[in-house]
Symmetry: C2
Subunit: 203 residues, 2 copies
């Protein structure tokens, strides 16, 4: 038998497990990953979902341009390499949030399939929920709340997704939202119903 | 009066505020930022604190080498520039966690004062709690659980903090833990008592 040298014998180290965090939260930790064109409604639906979950006592959090592009990723621009690194970092942060027992909700164009699939690969099956907010360029351009499409058409914004840069739609999204014809509340409820049906909202 | 054009008049957008998240969590969101030499006990105390908070139903989460260096920051090495970017990213992620109503606990050497102060500047007063885990090089080298000091002395690890790279101790840490003479449980309780005394553990 090895000699007992520790003087602090009452101390037992324990690392809190992911499942214990889910039990405390009362639900599972996942990421709901919205993808789609600029002005398709991603961020609005993400915040509506966050609000609905919060009202029900669920722990959710939105990662979007407002809190990522001005913070963690402020040293990245819009080249293909920087877009890839942007999505990689967001995926890693979403994974940390999900591990902590939070329903992480991300709202980024995330135009490249390979980038989204690389994020998916970080997660166990069922923990990465890809949601395509499906709206045509025409629909988004007609909304254009920030005037970005107008600037892109005028050549003032280079590499603008849907105009001068590609958008690669997912072919295996967990959910496709028809944002051409349906409103925010209906689409939010569709995502909520999906989470409920998959058992995400209970530990 | 402006003409009412919206067809979706029952929808009211609401973004969940930080205070509402604190109310749901039952406590405030902050970061407890441990700093100190390799093998000083940072990670062990961080996990012990996380465990204690979790047992009490508080939402806490540890960011440390295990989940950051292999994930978010796997494209960074140990040059001064990369160490700075490493700490910058961790600070931004800790801020997101704190905003979500989580007690974020970080355990990184974070040897440069300027890097830690840049993180502090991201937070409101009281939300960034810097904790120096104060152990001498001799104490840490005597422990050396991973044999890193031995390798550093042999010149096998360049830029090793405390041996061949500087450690800049904080001069305004919220808390200084005497890890030369006290054990993990006692030091963990000191941090816990600090959080309690500052009202962090209630919303």
């Amino acid at each position: 038998m090895a000699e007992q040298k520790a003087t602090n014998v009452t101390w037992h180290e324990h690392t809190v497990t992911k499942d214990e965090r889910f039990q405390l939260a009362g639900h599972k930790g996942v990421v709901v990953w919205f993808t789609g064109l600029s002005a398709c409604g991603k961020s609005t639906i993400a915040n509506a979902l966050d609000n609905k979950l919060h009202q029900m006592g669920k722990h959710s959090f939105v990662l979007d341009g407002d809190n990522i592009r001005l913070g963690l990723n402020k040293n990245l621009k819009f080249s293909p390499e920087d877009r890839t690194e942007n999505i990689r970092r967001i995926g890693e942060v979403a994974k940390l949030f999900a591990s902590s027992g939070t329903i992480a909700i991300t709202a980024f164009i995330s135009p490249y399939k390979a980038d989204r699939d690389a994020v998916r690969a970080l997660f166990a099956p069922g923990e990465f929920i890809e949601v395509l907010v499906d709206a045509s360029v025409e629909t988004c351009e007609a909304r254009d709340p920030k005037g970005l499409y107008k600037k892109a058409r005028a050549g003032e914004i280079p590499n603008f997704t849907g105009i001068s840069a590609p958008y690669e739609a997912p072919d295996k999204a967990e959910l496709v939202l028809d944002a051409n014809t349906k409103g925010i509340e209906e689409l939010t409820n569709e995502v909520f119903a999906y989470l409920e049906s998959k058992g995400v909202l209970k530990a």
